[in-house]
Amino acid sequence: MPNLEISNLCFQHRGPYAFRIAGGECVGLAGASGAGKSLLLRALADLDPRTGVMQLGDVNADTVTGPQWRRLVGLLPAESGWWLDRVGEHFADFAAIDEQTLAAVGFDRSVQDWQVSRLSTGERQRLAIVRLLANGPQCLLLDEPTASLDHDAAARVENLLLRYGADRQAPMLWVSHDPAQLERVSRRGLRMESAGLLVDAGGAGDAR
């Protein structure tokens, strides 16, 4: 099972950051808006210039290309991007998506032909999650994955993501503004202070 090990990570005058997420472990990341949580995720996906060592299992980020690394560490951005007309066109092979995953977020196969322009924000978000998981990442970096979802849909998405993490023994970093959600999905938390300082937030519900 691959562990995510980050050391000496610096980017845009931030850092150094160092932490470790074990395979199958979900770590919550809290902090005020604008504290730099999304920036940290971007740096972890190697989307912004950075220095330091990032290691997932036995793969060092610097020994593979940027695209290869990004396939390994799946980053779900807060707002998903769509560039073609139909949903199915955004998947390498939509037929390979299993029915269960689609059903878990409230869709069936017919979603393949839906017009992207007619999707609601919540539908886009749920489909973005399906699209990310279809890539088979070995690690999940989730930027407010349920922010645009109602209570019911959020619960289903939580289940889907946690099950994926457990099945693949994938390390997960879960950004959320909802303490109750972080308590549900993670047993350990990090907090991004406004100065860009990453501190241990302790176990959920643990006063430490």
Partner: protein
């Protein structure tokens, strides 16, 4: 056959039209009167100046003079390409991308035309070389500027989608493919359109000039066809080279979109 020389009074008459237009634009508050005046003055001064320079060049044919004036033309075109972009690649590199692309395409195509097609002696005879290079540079400049502007502007506007594609593991080339194609197309469309309508809607400027100057229409037409082909080739190769350059600059080795390499037209340096 000789051209009827224009008197200063003839030009003054044409200029009075611009004055009228300026007055109208002032009344309509188009805010163009000042630009109009400056542009008209620049046309007059620059063309008079180049007239004198050409006269000198025609009198003293030497490859060094030709190289010098070509260089000046290229630098001016490079500046113009930069000025026409809303968001441009900052620093010397941005200038080099545009100028390099124009140098590659215009100079190569002009050289080819002068040596192989026209075959004058010497090949750099200014009567041929300067108008040819001027027309090629002028058109390539437009194409390169439009293509680069479109590329940087679209990447800026669509950065979320581009980064989403990168996040899904696409390479920079995959993530930017459609944007790149559109940018090159928009640079080439004007010349393709003007080839399609040449003669039907508009009589191209060079041909008009040649006919005014007393050439037979068929001679003028043949030169015009040559020029159109050269311009189209030059613009196409120039736009493709420039877009490659922009793409290389705006993505780094790790396939990251580096919009920090852009600066907007009104700020010299981004904070």
């Amino acid at each position: 056959m000789h051209v009827k020389p224009l008197t200063p009074a003839d030009l003054a008459l044409a200029a009075s039209l611009l004055v009228l237009l300026g007055l109208l634009s002032w009344r309509l508050r188009l805010g163009l009167a000042k630009n109009l005046a400056i542009a008209a003055a620049r046309t007059t001064v620059q063309l008079l100046l180049i007239g004198h320079i050409l006269r000198l060049l025609f009198a003293h044919v030497h490859i060094v003079y030709m190289a010098l004036i070509s260089l000046v033309m290229l630098i001016a075109a490079g500046r113009e390409v930069m000025a026409r972009q809303q968001r441009r690649v900052s620093g010397l590199q941005g200038w080099l991308i545009g100028s390099g692309a124009m140098f590659l395409s215009s100079f190569t195509v002009t050289f080819l035309a002068l040596t192989v097609v026209i075959g004058n002696e010497p090949w750099y005879a200014p009567q041929y070389a300067i108008p040819l290079l001027g027309m090629l540079l002028g058109n390539t400049m437009s194409g390169v500027a439009v293509a680069m502007d479109r590329m940087t502007e679209t990447l800026w506007r669509e950065r979320r989608v581009v980064e989403q594609r990168l996040l899904l593991g696409q390479t920079a080339a995959e993530a930017v493919g459609e944007i790149r194609r559109q940018a090159i197309r928009s640079g080439m469309t004007p010349i393709i359109n003007s080839m399609a309508t040449a003669g039907l809607v508009s009589l191209p400027g060079m041909m008009t000039g040649q006919i005014l100057g007393g050439s037979s229409p068929m001679d003028a037409v043949q030169y015009q066809i040559l020029i159109m082909f050269l311009i189209c080739a030059g613009t196409g190769f120039g736009a493709i080279a420039a877009i490659r350059g922009v793409e290389r600059r705006l993505f780094d080795g790790r396939h990251r979109l580096r919009l920090d390499a852009l600066q907007t037209a009104d700020e010299e340096q981004r904070p």
